[in-house]
Symmetry: C2
Subunit: 330 residues, 2 copies
């Protein structure tokens, strides 16, 4: 038995969540439903314009790892924060959830701060993300603990981490450690515009190294430059062992070799869509590392996604195991 | 017309809200339902023991001011934060709500940090507060803008501010400015143990200067050292123009001279009792500064308290004016 079920690598950040009317997005140049990278000046300007907010730890892969830990899985997380109050909050929340997190901590003298994501939630529950990466941008190959990765069954790589000067090298080191240590590789495409920025690097990694690919409809179509969702699914499935592709209220499609399953979405009152994909991935990975089949894992993903969009914040609040029981999945 | 309806003076802090089972309180020496002062070491120790949390701006008088501002009242707040990330969050959330807040900012070189309150919410919705005052403890007479107070109809003083080396002097300066500038004085007793620590100072201030006193059942009985609630109410009412005393699910009692009204509590599913008294006071003060009678103001207080305990965090989320309309109060 390996020490960890999943080691996740991602951009460490704290979410600053505020409600905003549709008009606010237009007036402030925020594009709806996606993640935009912003610099510190823009972060300060945008923050001064938004309404009262609340701060809840986020970061895509960190949410996924928190979800797996919440379910009782053994997890570790790799991502960089600064030795500041937001960094402390991020580290606390992950550890308090039961995940191992050896902070790659940037010192107080570092100018950049802990990353943050200003998440604007419109009345329809959709989230529009504005990310100041801060120190998390500088995760480098030396921050990767290759021994830790070898002690894990899976590594989970966050697509957003393709942004950043040494990101690709850091992922290469992690993948090499996974391959030589017998860990399988999962990747999430994260965002259609992130795919746009790094399509070639994504493609090379997917076809050469990725065992399990997470994506949503927009991301997979951007990946394969097609308007045809079915074509994108087929091409994705051909590149990896397992493709798990979410399609919002239409649920998720799981493809592996010639098999294909559909997991229905669980209807809920959407308060805040932040973290839907992250928790889908978390529950899915918990399922596959705990002896469940791909179809069940997909259903678990949909249950967890439904829970996380029913409240503000991208980390689980209700007991996911109890929800899995309620839906007859465990 | 004066520039402000209410200027509030209180302990500026960010709440760190986490769910905790009853056993956690016992095991960690947290007394249920009250506010305990803790030092930084204890704050670090307790924080490392609690589960994942979320950060939402708090501070008793600041919540009250946020409530009045949310309703459209003209407000200002006086309280001290440090030039750190939590200080920034506190200042942002108050200003974003529409309140004037000229931060009395302690510099980065200051060792103490922005105050925080670790709020543990048990399954029954009760909150147990553990407060590290940090720099807010050092609000001094020089931080009081006497001119600003003179430009207000009311000042609202937070009982918790009786803790701190120069607190009493700061309040004396504020009261003097109010009296000479024609502002009336409201005070909240804040907490029974806070009353215990400073009973004589509270009593002197109440009988000499306070026009409107806010308290709950436990606080007013502690104030007058009696087990007889009715006696405590009578004695309180004799000391001030108006006494507004809340009694949890039994609603609120409003006493003025020989008149007395009862405002019923609005039943709700209690998620987190944090801020109930603060929002009662906010809505009450909004009512009395906007031409409503004391009975209506009391009813408004109960509606606002009911809203704030129906979710996590001590600042209003739903539209309070719409709720007042729904209850036929405006």
């Amino acid at each position: 038995m390996k020490e960890f079920h999943v080691v996740g690598i991602g951009n460490a950040m704290v979410d600053i969540l505020a409600h905003a009317p549709e008009e606010f997005l237009e007036q402030n140049g925020v594009e709806k439903g996606i993640m935009q990278l912003i610099d510190m000046d823009r972060a300060v300007e945008l923050y001064s314009s938004i309404g009262p907010a609340r701060e809840i730890s986020g970061g895509s892969a960190a949410n996924t790892i928190a979800g797996i830990a919440h379910l009782g899985g053994r997890t570790a997380y790799v991502g960089k924060v600064k030795d500041d109050q937001l960094g402390e909050i991020f580290a606390h929340d992950l550890r308090a959830q039961g995940a191992t997190y050896e902070t790659r901590m940037a010192p107080k003298s570092e100018v950049a701060e802990t990353g943050r994501c200003i998440v604007l939630v419109t009345p329809d529950g959709e989230r529009s993300m504005n990310t100041y990466l801060g120190v998390t941008e500088h995760l480098s190959p030396t921050d990767i603990d290759t021994d830790q990765i070898a002690r894990s069954e899976w590594i989970y790589l966050e697509g957003y981490r393709f942004d950043g000067p040494e990101s690709h090298e850091a992922f290469a080191v992690a993948i090499e450690a996974a391959k030589s240590g017998g860990a399988r590789v999962a990747l999430t495409l994260s965002d259609p515009f992130c795919v746009e920025r790094h399509r070639d690097a994504f493609r090379a990694m997917i076809s050469d190294h990725v065992d399990l690919l997470f994506a949503n409809r927009a991301e997979i179509m951007s990946m394969y430059l097609t308007d045809d969702f079915e074509e994108a699914l087929s091409r994705g499935a051909a590149d990896v062992d397992v493709l798990a592709c979410t399609e919002s209220e239409k649920g998720a499609h799981i493809l592996s070799d010639d098999d294909r399953w559909h997991a229905p979405a669980i209807p809920t009152d959407i308060k805040d869509a932040t973290g839907a994909g992250d928790l889908f991935a978390g529950a899915f990975l918990w399922g596959v590392t705990h002896g469940h089949g791909l179809e069940t894992a997909g259903r678990m993903g949909c249950v967890a996604a439904s829970e996380v969009i029913s409240h503000i914040g991208a980390r689980p609040e209700a007991d996911l195991r109890a929800l899995f029981q309620k839906h007859g999945l465990i």
